[in-house]
Symmetry: C2
DNA sequence: CAGATATAGTTTCATTTGCAACTATATGGA
DNA sequence: TCCATATAGTTGCAAATGAAACTATATCTG
């Protein structure tokens, strides 16, 4: 008995998409303008700043970026001297990527800017609001990730 | 004193993007495979099913799709005979779009499927969870929409 | 009413993205 | 060990996207 009608405005996938696009447009414009970075490039830097050395594959799973985009983003970052690659002693097909000194310096500039943007975005959110949003997003992500039919 | 460090995993814009991509990938694949529709096309149909006739401009603001994509999506739908255009008596530059009988029939198929996917995605969400998510997404969207510097 | 300016929508072109094919290395079985 | 198959990463090509130019109509100003 699904008499329930569909209203796009109240449709959660739609709300999610609209919110994500709004945020992403805003933030990616800022990365781009201020640091010349695209989103995947920025994500690689953020992850490499937390962990030391990683293979493209590990970066892909840590950032949710597919291997093609990781490859392209890494190439761009190497070109700019922000990350460096060395052979992976454990697997000749792969290599290990790490931030260079320049990369670290750039990260030191971006990280506070990113946190500031996030803070601006979440202005007025209580700690609970924030935790709730985080948890709900993870649940949805998990539900969407698992496939059924 | 922002000693706080950045962790991508806990960064809300990142969580939002990952969740939205997961959902959008899942759902858009389904629209595409089952009905041959891209996301903007599906959105135009959903909005036109709620309201009767609309101009491309109105559709754009109702769906959050830019005018170029509205134009292309509308062209594809007209081509398929799912919507029809007539001159706008109030403005010769514009026209009015509405679902055809075929369009309505397709909508009658898609709407339940869309609601089912949403239900699957939100399985385990209480009514409160859902309302909370909706509200938080709208707040973020508003914060991201308004520009500051 | 004529000319200037603004707006609706489309089209063209450059950029971005994603898939599929490719290269190189690794692994597992005869 | 040698061959078959699998996996890491890259590249080339085709489709999707977005910005800027364009056409047509509307509105505003003198």
């Amino acid at each position: 008995m699904s008499i329930m009608t569909l209203r796009l405005d109240a449709f959660i996938p739609y709300r999610l998409s609209v919110a994500s696009n709004a945020v992403s447009t805003r933030i990616s414009a800022s990365y781009r303008k201020r640091f010349g970075l695209k989103v995947p490039e920025w994500r690689l830097i953020a992850i490499l700043a937390e962990a030391s050395e990683m293979t493209p594959q590990m970066l892909g799973s840590a950032t949710g970026i597919d291997k093609i985009s990781v490859s392209r983003a890494a190439a761009a970052l190497i070109e700019r001297g922000l990350i460096a690659a060395r052979d992976n002693p454990e697997d000749g097909r792969s290599h290990l990527l790490a931030l260079t000194t320049d990369g670290r310096a750039l990260y030191a500039e971006i990280a506070p800017a990113a946190l500031a943007m996030e803070a601006e975005l979440l202005a007025g959110f209580s700690v609970e609001d924030r935790a709730c949003l985080d948890a709900l997003l993870r649940r949805i992500e998990a539900a969407a990730g698992a496939d059924s039919s």
